[in-house]
Symmetry: C2
Subunit: 416 residues, 2 copies
């Protein structure tokens, strides 16, 4: 587990040391088990918060705000984010069976109405690994649809988290506060191992309109074969110091340094990704892995941006939100995507990124706890910066440095 | 130079042995110098045809057809097609300076009005290598715009050549005769090193609406790095016996063998190209080059099909014509493109292929001889199968086995 602080953008990664400091009660774990990564979201109650006792009918939390649903307790704490590699799923299982989760298990908790053996899970792995969780932990994975989860996760973040969305261009990120009344429609582009493109028209109104198999798994998979990098992060790091012009065939390489001005292609535009590897007698070992990684990142980012734009155009969507673990706050990725969207749309469409981009599905699965009558997550505004239209969602008061989200819960099914 | 006869589709490649047999007069050479390949088209007069003498005013050709422009001679012969690798441009230069071309140079010929030192050329290399041709051969390349050439080449083929266009699906190719009155609009997708997508609305009415850098150069470049193949054709050959499921992450790999039926993805759909290379400890050497080549071909073909479809959709085009040297009549490439277009368009759009797919630009440059007043190429119908609307183009009577096209010329500037 790593903190990602790249190019001034603090990303939502959970720090291992931070984890050890957790002393509060852990509850409501949700998983998104993808092809490459397992993403986990869980709530950890602050030790010192009031209104959290079983059966407590207090209508005030520590901030002294009156709670509309006074018969239910308010839990104050943080949402935490954690990831594991899917191929190392045993680490995830071990973590969940660890003392931390066992003794303080939350929705595996003190409430009799609450079945501690069921947790929400989404992603293909919720199907694939259902037996493993049952066998090793005695836990049943309650499967939540992948697209439902992604959309619920993004909507939660856009509505509830101040400073969540931002644009990235020319090395600068700019936070964007989206007007809640002007949120829909948008195109969600979730870049995991593969890419899903979802047109979102409302809270629960959406359609998967497109996708591509050229995604994060392609970058990592091809990158691993080409560079022998041991991890996705290492490959990203490597690409940072590379020069794609060594391997990409540019318009200028074909036109002898001149632009192809008639169709608006400058001499530095990429005519053919990896096209320069064709000429000469160079083999893989003759190229610097940095340059290979850079060309690969640029090819894939650019391609996703283009397909996203074409789909946004199809449905007249001006706002394209990019999520998924591929991006990881990496400047060059975001820059290429932003430039791609800007180029193809002639400035009409805008690429937006999210601080918790990798946890959309897991957050959505987490949100689904409120849907099945087991638990209700109630809006609770921060007095200083009240979100405008939080429809029955968790409140987010702050986004701290390691990416965890401060929030409060109200549990409707808490026994009284 | 090779004959490509794959899967029952005879492709327009020029055979070296065939070249040696040429005894007729060579004239009107045109070049398309791309990032990876140089494509050449030239006319070679039959030895035994009449009406070809300098100053001959005969109004009849060998078939006895009356020619409307009786003051001009009719030359009967064949259009021939030849390719060289751009990195081996000296082979092309040597070929052009060879006895064959020197002694029989055509538009470098007996006609005083005809400047033998100027030949039509398109593609970026017409700029890049202009000095080289001047220096080595004393030839000036008369540059013809790349997009103009591509469109002129396709229109010539679609209007004039019987059995040129075909669909390919499930291992079967089906020739399509397009009604000349229903030719436009169509989307031309030319897959060279990079990919250009051109909306064609009429003979000279078109617009380059999109493109992608993930093209033939990407396949060959990445493929060379990954498999150590020595040529594009070798890589294609290799892919034929590969299995992409070894490296691609399928929906079933993520969902444990089940479909993601809610959004219509079957378990065998590719979720992430090269995504399986992420898991396990396999390195490049542990994969069969065949499987790598297959995954690569599928990724790129699929991606081009998708972007092409999205652009066709944008402009309401039902017919998508794929050309360029990437395809080479390769069954799996055409099948993936066809299936991709069919899948994304829900059967609404159709992928069409061309027998002379690799020579569109060169043919278009060749056609441009008629535009500059130097030479006029006059329609001359085959009696048995008259094309309906040949607007001042060469006549094509047949397409022989090695891909050359039988035709007749009429030269308006032939001195009388």
């Amino acid at each position: 587990m790593q903190i990602m602080e790249k190019d001034g953008v603090v990303k939502a990664q959970f720090e291992e040391n931070e984890l050890k400091k957790l002393t509060g009660e852990v509850s409501h774990v949700a998983l998104d088990i993808g092809g490459s990564l397992i993403k986990m979201v869980f709530f950890c109650r602050d030790n010192n918060c009031s209104g959290h006792e079983h059966g407590n009918k207090s209508s005030k939390d520590t901030n002294g705000l009156t709670n509309g649903y006074s018969e239910y307790p308010v839990l104050k704490g943080k949402l935490h984010f954690l990831k594991f590699e899917t191929k190392r799923i045993n680490e995830c299982v071990e973590f969940m069976s660890s003392k931390q989760f066992q003794s303080n298990g939350g929705c595996f908790c003190k409430a009799p109405a609450c079945d501690k053996n069921i947790i929400k899970a989404t992603g293909g792995g919720a199907f694939r690994f259902a037996d493993l969780f049952k066998e090793k932990l005695g836990i049943t994975l309650d499967k939540v649809d992948e697209m439902d989860s992604l959309v619920a996760g993004v909507n939660f973040l856009l509505k509830g988290v101040t400073g969540e969305a931002f644009t990235y261009m020319d090395g600068k990120n700019e936070y964007v506060q989206i007007d809640q009344n002007d949120l829909y429609p948008y195109l969600l582009v979730n870049i995991g191992s593969g890419v899903s493109m979802i047109k979102v028209d409302g809270d629960d109104k959406f359609e998967r309109v497109s996708g591509t198999s050229v995604g994060g798994g392609t970058f990592w998979g091809l990158g691993k074969l080409l560079t022998k990098c041991k991890s996705f992060d290492e490959l990203l790091e490597l690409s940072h110091s590379g020069n794609n012009r060594v391997i990409d065939m540019l318009v200028g390489d074909i036109y002898g340094g001149t632009d192809y001005s008639k169709i608006g292609l400058t001499s530095t535009a990429i005519a053919s990704s990896f096209g320069k590897a064709v000429s000469g007698n160079k083999e893989l070992e003759d190229y610097r892995p940095e340059d290979v990684a850079r060309s690969l990142l640029r090819m894939i980012s650019n391609n996703i941006a283009q397909i996203a734009y074409l789909n946004a155009l199809r449905f007249g969507l001006k706002r394209i939100i990019f999520g998924g673990f591929f991006i990881r706050g990496h400047a060059y990725t975001m820059d290429t995507i932003s430039v791609g969207v800007d180029f193809w749309s002639k400035g009409e469409a805008k690429a937006l990124f999210l601080r918790h981009e990798g946890y959309l599905g897991a957050l959505g699965a987490f949100m689904s706890y409120k849907k099945d009558g087991l638990t209700d997550l109630i809006t609770h505004h921060s007095a200083s910066e009240p979100p405008k239209n939080l429809s029955n969602c968790s409140t987010v008061q702050d986004l701290n440095e390691n990416g965890s989200i401060e929030c409060t819960f109200q549990l409707s099914n808490w026994p009284v």
